[in-house]
């Protein structure tokens, strides 16, 4: 077993190798390095602190159990992120089964008038730091429906392709494209409203 100091200074691949042979301290170090990142991804999708914490914990347990399956094709945090994303999607499916989702279904099939979607023009915002803009985008994301927020998170943050998103969400590529378009349109509109309210644009 490596000494305590070795864990904190070890490179990620070395920690993964140690963890693969059952070294819990190496795994603890990996948790310490990536716990916030995994929590952020869970929170981005779920928008619920308690659920995001629970799903993050579950993701780490699953990661420990499946470490043998990690061969380094993607980076370790990317692999972890996929696990927590899958758990979030499972949770959303479970929630969907438990309630009627008719309002969101209506939003997507309101006919040809709504299908002609205008995307708001947003000019580059002067005098707004990247952090401030992020906060406004985050607030706008929170206002999207689960389906639309999820597709944005999977495409923009998880960097999946249309095909991969369709597989994960159990839907067609056409539906993914349609949801993504609607989500962006809505985001642009919400963002413009916020920026106008804050006097940052006219």
């Amino acid at each position: 077993m490596p000494e305590e100091l070795a864990y904190s200074s070890a490179e990620e691949p070395q920690l993964v190798q140690w963890a693969k042979v059952g070294d819990m301290q190496a795994f603890e170090e990996l948790v310490a390095r990536y716990r916030d990142r995994i929590y952020v991804r869970a929170y981005s999708i779920m928008r619920n602190e308690t659920l995001a914490v629970d799903l993050s914990q579950n993701a780490w347990v699953k990661a420990w159990q499946r470490l043998e399956q990690f061969h380094g094709e993607a980076s370790f945090p990317t692999w972890l992120s996929r696990i927590v994303t899958n758990l979030c999607l499972d949770e959303l499916r479970r929630q969907k089964r438990a309630r009627m989702d008719s309002i969101e279904a209506m939003e997507e099939t309101t006919g040809p008038v709504e299908n002609r979607m205008e995307v708001e023009a947003i000019d580059p915002v002067e005098g707004l730091s990247r952090g401030e803009l992020r906060e406004r985008i985050d607030a706008a994301l929170a206002k999207l429906s689960d389906k639309h927020r999820t597709v944005i998170v999977l495409y923009e943050f998880e960097e999946l392709e249309y095909r991969e998103i369709a597989e994960k969400m159990g839907t067609s590529i056409g539906t993914v494209m349609s949801r993504l378009f609607y989500a962006r349109k809505r985001l642009a509109s919400l963002l413009k409203e916020t920026l106008k309210r804050d006097g940052l644009i006219e």
Binding site: R134, L180, L187
Partner: protein, 171 residues
Amino acid sequence: MNENEIQLKVQALVDGELTGREAEELLSRLESDAGLKALHTRLTVVRGLMADAELPRTLPESGDFHWSQISKAIEREERQAKHMARPASGANWLRRWVLPLAGIACLVLVLSLQQTTMPDLEILLGSDHELELSIEDLDVMTFNTGDDNMSVVWLDYSIDLQQDGIDLWLD
């Protein structure tokens, strides 16, 4: 292709999901269609805003507590997995195999003792003999021949099913 489909194609172009001839055709169409060109620009701006837009957050519980929850869950799941995979315990093994085998051994012993004690019951059997027992509803007849080392047991059990059926139905 309707307007909505074209919009989705423009989006696919912005996302780099449209390639080859389809992409070239759409690009040339954008040059002559101001509306589509504007949509392309707006979608590109939204994409640009979203790049690296995920707000950093900190886990709302201490790292130590988070780890303790994870390690407890791992231990719990490993215990359960071991329990499922574990071979039968000593007590289970005894219950599953030894007791039935002991029961069979006892039965064999009793039967063999019965055979050896038969002469004590003063039933003297010749080399060829017949035994017959008859009680209500059951007739048993055995025939033993010493020459051929053969025993024949004849069981005749008859029951009036129809009568029983009627009784049951009447009950």
